[in-house]
């Protein structure tokens, strides 16, 4: 099962490597990983998407919690949540393709952020499935380069992950 685990971490050198090290030491998967400081510069917010059985996910959250620098964490997939990923993608855009790509970008509510005579660079945000859907709609042959940020997530409603 795919899970999104959101972690508040001390913003200290080496803290991230402990998290990443834990996943490889214990043979857990990392599908995506994002990390950046929060509004409080002493803390980082880290989001990791992973897959595993119920038992593995329970171990992942427990083992993460055991790391001294982990302040708090939440498995966002346990409740209603919003997930977003940012993608920048370079597409081959010549001749009649240009209009077709423009239409597809509009349908997916993306933006063309850079243009040359043969290339569109598109920015698209959404959940991971939407980004996958866009690539599928364009077709692999038209895609020159893809860069994805990995998933960030936040709980819906009043729930807050903070100190």
């Amino acid at each position: 099962m795919r899970r999104i685990i959101s972690v508040l971490l001390e913003n200290e050198p080496g803290a991230l490597s402990r998290v990443v090290g834990l996943f490889s030491q214990r043979n857990y998967n990392i599908e995506t990983l994002t990390v950046a400081p929060t509004e409080d510069p002493t803390m980082s917010r880290l989001t990791v998407t992973t897959t595993g059985s119920e038992r593995v996910i329970e171990q992942i959250t427990k083992q993460l919690n055991k790391l001294i620098e982990v302040i708090k964490l939440v498995d966002l997939t346990e409740g209603a949540h919003i997930e977003r990923e940012l993608m920048l993608v370079k597409l081959k855009a010549t001749g009649s393709q240009r209009a077709e790509i423009k239409r597809t970008v509009d349908i997916f509510r993306g933006q063309i952020v850079d243009v040359t005579s043969s290339v569109y660079t598109v920015q698209l945000a959404g959940d991971s499935a939407k980004l996958d859907g866009f690539i599928q709609a364009i077709g692999a042959t038209g895609v020159l380069e893809v860069v994805r940020s990995g998933v960030s997530g936040i709980a819906r409603g009043e729930k807050v992950l903070s100190l």
Binding site: E10, G14, R18, K66, E69, I71
Partner: protein, 572 residues
Amino acid sequence: MELLSGADMLIRSLQDEGIENIYGYPGGAALHIYDALFRQDTVKHILVRHEQAAVHMADGYARATGKAGTVLVTSGPGATNTITGIATAFMDSIPMVVLCGQVASTLIGEDAFQETDMIGVSRPVVKHNLSVRHPSEIPEIIRKAYYIATTGRPGPVVVDIPKDMTAPNDRYEYVFPKKTKLRSYNPAIRGHAGQIKKAVDMLLAAKRPIVYAGGGVILGKASGQLTEMVRGLGYPITNTLMGIGCYPASDKQHIGWLGMHGTYEANMVMHNADLILAIGARFDDRVTNATEKFCPGARIIHIDIDPASISKTISADVPIVGPVDSVLKEMQSLIKESKVRPDADALAAWWKQIDEWRAFHGMRYETSDDVIKPQEVVEMLHRLTNGDAYVTTDVGQHQMFAAQYYKFDKPNRWISSGGLGTMGFGLPAAMGIKLNFPDEEVLCITGEGSIQMNIQELSTCKQYSLPVKIINLNNQALGMVKQWQDMNYGARHSHSYMDSLPDFVKLAEAYGHEGIKITRKEDLEPMLKKALAMKDKLVFVDIYVDPSEHVYPMHVARGSMKDMWLSKTEKV
């Protein structure tokens, strides 16, 4: 205002932390610290011959006293040599602080002489590690290191100290923090009351209960509470290898230790139990055998300070996260208050069954008129030391024989690398204990393979007068490897023997100690007595034992707990 250099702050912090002995080896990056050590006499330093031994010494001390051990080494090879010792402590949750020199912060990352990323190298085998980034942080970091090492589930903490952080001319105000608090680290201080109540109800309703206690009982200093509770209930108790001594082995409710080489009765009781009360144990693979076949009829209460140990390999029905001593205390008072008593008829029937299992096997081995059996050596040592010695071991057959035939009635006396299984642990661990308990008998039961992994420490023993007794169960083979090859590899003894063993008597003498070689059965008792009578001498007792002996019982691989070999020919 008192101004101190980083090196002086470090030593002063150790003093303020109450550290008496540290174990280590100097080198370039640690020289400022060694100079500060030289200029005081409160903290005593023991110079080992290899850094791994320093860690095992600190570990032996920690296991025997329950306090954190302390190690001091230099950067690079000094630091990497500690890794096996740190991993050993980590697997067995032993509190320890390892102070490592590092190249100057200005050189880090430049592949400087004796530079190793010790923070990175040690990360998978420490509870935590800390790096000094300004000399003034040192007192705070040292306090934090001991706090983390000794609280919650204990473990080793590494502190990496770049050389410029200890420079003699950079002085700062010394303030030792009285308390330390980390917002991201709050170990449980008591168990959940509702869960404890539920556990007590289940415990009192059980028909075929078993208490399964682990090393956490010893680390949590809860042997007293455990013994009181189990005696009051009249239930059978088993313990893990790491839990040996947490409940008196001579007590009739104690059915021996469990697992791969545990007693027949302990494994049978576990398999047939309807309730398992696991306390400070972690359902390790050497206990459970195949997890999918584990104790099919049992409901499980699991008490542990580490939530990640609960439901890791075996799901718990009632998890309780908390310190073992406080949880047991609360359970005991609920048991006393409760009107429900254990079902006497069910318990009597259970004990009748247990006694039948005991009678069926118990611990036994075939004696011989000609060769010395390793088991009889251990039994004799138990008798000659009144069962009251500190016993360290290395790893292999001798370790299992020692655990099976030396019956411990007290905690903290069985000192063995259970989790990592580190050969070379026994001698330095014994040294760490002897140094701190000079009047106690300290035995290192070892084998001719293991002892050679840290044999150089005989020199340290001479320097600091550490008269431990080394009992070398010499079967001229890596016995446990050979046993597995006998059982699983058609007796093809691939590299499990040594052709050119040293003359251990001469070796001991070369280091300035006594050596005794025993080959004949009739010499065993008088020679052991003679060795033990030499109170102020390290005696290396080299005993030639039956090379064909195997350790039994032994779990049948991939079976359940009840599937065991009881001898070379009997399988149940």
